[in-house]
Symmetry: C2
Subunit: 229 residues, 2 copies
């Protein structure tokens, strides 16, 4: 059985979610020259665990080490690969922009929207895999601090709110957003302030090894039709 | 590579969570005679998809068709099976008590507590798999209607609250619990009432194909040190 690992690597740049794609070589056994999620086979002789295989493949295909990786689902059937029954363990990984530059020439970042609206075609069922990973991120953004992994380690609350709004696809109420994020107790006040248009903005810091925390109230409860800024 | 599917099948009986175990035959290739989660191999020639394989295996090993099944995680490494690299796709399945009788003689329901406190030993890493599935259920119970799948289709709110309390491991505040469950809009009032010790209790109904809904407020916010009944 073909057993692979595929990873949806996401970052935010230019005010949108972007996914890292990898171009399959022109002599690939299937979908030659197509863009695909960075992925690869699990090797019994080389990999001790699935987790190690995931990191090895990301390192080799993308040259990146994301702070956050989670399994989304395992998809297996007879149709998804022209060479027969295949199974892939799908992962979601988040990167902050400053750590997202891949030195590999056969990779590039594209807006997820381009895949969703089919202007960017992908190999195999990778467009479906991307949609599954985005759904996981969207759901978790409603009740947890997960989108923090898309932010820089030093940040202002309006920047983080914008990240949540991009992930959730709708504007949030400023006060309700702040209440949820601050009560989750993952941000440290650096004591520094920067002057913006209005009152000075606090600079917060989070640690990349901080666990994902659940909110007491759902973030969609913070939605508003008009942004309150 | 050994590729299997294992399922943690749960029900509530005798005021506790119970898991269905299956006894491995005395001539098994590994762990002969041990109790294990119902599971089996994925067969390329027989199974069209992972989902079909999951149902086929549950039907054959346990004779049961749960209303709710979800994937929890895929665990793969060199250590978990004495015969070498193996990978299992772990599932969580929930059954209401009235549909949980297995006719298979090599299965029995045991309190999950017996596995957790190691008075019931399991084959392979199945005790770890059970713990992972329980963690998933516990987390989802905090923000969703998932535990409804452990309830009978006609139910009173105090019965459902008891199910949540068993899953979460702590008492809940009656009014806060009712508010969350009723606002999730998954229960239909049957119009019937039964007389209890206090005021008459409404009988609600839910449909087994109802999607799992998220609460606006976390259920742990409903916790209380003393049960308010």
């Amino acid at each position: 059985m073909i057993t692979t690992i595929d990873t949806v690597l996401l970052r935010i740049a230019d005010n949108e979610l972007q996914v890292l794609l990898w171009q399959r070589p022109s002599d690939s056994r299937a979908y030659p020259g197509f863009w695909a999620l960075p992925g690869g086979w699990v090797f019994e002789d080389r990999d001790e665990t699935l987790e190690q295989a995931t990191c090895r493949i990301l390192e080799r295909k993308a040259g990146l080490k994301p702070d956050y990786i989670e399994q989304v689902a395992t998809i297996g059937n007879r149709q998804r690969d022209p060479d027969g029954w295949s199974m892939t363990v799908l992962h979601l990984a988040l990167l902050r922009f400053s750590c997202s530059s891949s030195t590999h020439e056969d990779t590039h970042w594209v807006p997820v929207e381009n895949v969703l609206n089919q202007s960017q075609e992908l190999a195999f069922d990778h467009a479906v895999l991307l949609a599954k990973a985005l759904e996981r991120l969207n759901t978790k953004a409603r009740y947890s601090t997960l989108p923090l992994y898309l932010a820089e380690q030093e940040l202002k609350l309006p920047e983080l709110q914008r990240i949540y709004e991009i992930v959730l696809g709708n504007p949030l109420h400023k006060r309700a957003f702040r209440e949820r994020i601050l009560s989750a107790d993952v941000l440290q006040d650096t004591g520094r302030r920067v002057q913006g248009r209005g009152s000075p903005a606090t600079i917060y810091r989070y640690h990349s090894d901080c666990p994902v925390r659940l909110f007491d109230r759902m973030m969609q409860g913070a939605s508003t039709e008009t942004v309150d800024e």
